[in-house]
Symmetry: C2
Subunit: 317 residues, 2 copies
């Protein structure tokens, strides 16, 4: 048996954000049409090492596959595998950057659907790798001209501002506090590892769209509970996954401000227009914890491009 091993630096040359957004939108449409299956993340651990496992199938793409990744106190290593329609294991991909790309792409798909079309300003919370692909994705679907970034460490937000201004060709400024970061912004990204909320209800403005992607554990939240009485529409990447992982929802669910029945999945938004923006002043929220179908989407694109261009290393196993 031989399979194609694709390194991260090879993958980066085979897919860009607009391609990732198109690929991720397609798999969510497949999911809405009952042509894809997604298994939420499961975790097991020994002291100091956690294994995270996800799997999915996408019939129109003709692949089943998994993502497994390891996190330790100092490192994280991600791999995606694809099996084709004959059941052959055809590809193994390094998937750290691919994971950031697909999480950005899912926010891109949703922002294109939920944010006001003319939105041109973005507030970013967090200055890590995920924050970068989030901003890139939003810029790919809206005419963004300016952004501001807040994170706890001044040096980090300043280098983020500098680098992302350069990469995206827009003005990105480092903000000294959350309130300044949010002033006059139409789209909000939270991509932090903060355990306590940075965004509070009083800072939200009518018409805002929020992509909250930082928490995928029930003990971490980026939005304070009082935000939820102001949010009109909530769309989740996956309701099952969010039940396991969306820390942002714990308090407002307990308080009764929101219910699972009031939320829609991204697949439902795309295929049934469920929970779409109803008016310009609505505040909309996309809550994303990450799904294996997104991994399969970008991995399939990369694998097929790699085959076509002769990229990657054949492993005979």
């Amino acid at each position: 048996m031989s399979l194609l091993f694709i390194r991260e630096e090879e993958a980066q040359k085979l897919i860009d954000m607009p391609q990732a957004i198109a690929a991720v939108e397609q798999v969510f449409r497949s999911l809405g049409n009952q042509e894809a299956q997604n298994v939420p993340r499961h975790r097991v651990q020994v002291p100091g090492v956690m294994l995270h496992s996800l799997s999915a199938s996408v019939t129109p793409l003709g692949y089943v596959g998994w993502k497994n990744y390891i996190t330790t106190r100092t490192a994280a290593r991600f791999h995606i595998a694809l099996y084709d329609q004959e059941g052959h294991w055809v590809a193994l991909l390094e998937a750290d950057w691919l994971g950031q790309l697909r999480t950005g792409a899912a926010s891109g798909v949703t922002t294109a659907k939920l944010a006001n079309p003319e939105a041109k300003s973005v507030a970013v919370f967090g200055s890590g790798k995920q924050a970068r692909t989030q901003l890139e994705a939003v810029c790919a679907v809206r005419p963004v001209q300016q952004a501001s970034v807040y994170s706890h460490t001044a040096a980090n937000r300043e280098s983020f501002a500098l680098e992302m201004s350069d990469q995206l060709g827009i003005s990105v400024l480092a903000a000294p506090d959350p309130a300044t970061c949010l002033t006059d912004k139409e789209i909000v990204i939270t991509a932090t590892t903060s355990q306590s909320p940075l965004v509070t209800g009083d800072l939200l403005k009518p018409g805002m769209h929020i992509n909250a992607i930082g928490s995928n554990a029930l003990n971490r939240s980026e939005l304070s509970a009082d935000c939820f009485s102001r949010i009109n529409q909530i769309v989740c990447d996956d309701l099952n996954s969010c039940r396991n992982e969306a820390g942002d929802f714990v308090e407002p669910l307990k308080a009764g401000t929101i219910t699972w029945g009031s939320m829609a999945s991204l697949a439902e938004l795309l295929t049934e227009n469920k929970n779409q923006r109803e008016c310009k002043s609505d505040i909309t929220l996309f809550k994303s914890v990450g799904m294996a179908i997104e991994d399969i989407a970008v991995a399939a694109h990369v694998y097929e491009a790699a085959k076509e261009q002769g990229v990657g290393t054949v492993l005979d196993i």
Copy 2:
């Protein structure tokens, strides 16, 4: 990063059934002591191809890992991965035979605990690969002298009888029907893919121990519902997994003959003596659907032996 790839024919030289039984018993004890975690099997599919994913951690062994396998109409391919205490992906193993070995080993562990000590006769239903390691495991823990085998196709049961007599040095006879197969037997193995039960309640005798391992889907059962009013003790490899997959339990649960509360897990049997045999005439049942901790147990043994003996292929990925 480099990891050790171990082929099936290499693994076969690095572990035998007694070693597998010892390894599997240890991980179930770890599970009972809250030193291991097991995620039940999840499945996704595209037409014609199903991906099955399991994962587990075993702290005393110092590994986390997964098993992923693909089944199609004509083939099945299994792989196990191990990650060490530093979070490094250290091993990838072909695991078709290893899966048969560990399933046999789990039955060996349970038979050693539940079957009457002097049991020396075995009825085997099914003549496939899983049936072989089941019989081998039972022979490893009880003084078996004779066995009989029944499967639908005469040629299959006859070749099983011939080959297993030779391999195990005991008398194995092909039986023309289930009743003949069960006559005067003390241990019963069901390892079929039958959708409808082969073993009915009237055929059970006091003192029997049964290992039922063939069904891991809710629409397949090897034991008829009327068996369950005669069975005194039920032990499951894993109660969560059996809720998802033990087709044998569907009818008797519906009828109220058994309840989940009346069953014990193998970990509970080993560490708390829960649901152990109470008297010589008890009929005991081990229901096994397969668990990732068993895969980690045998894979860890094989990987460590391979490292020591310089076996396997280093993959630089």
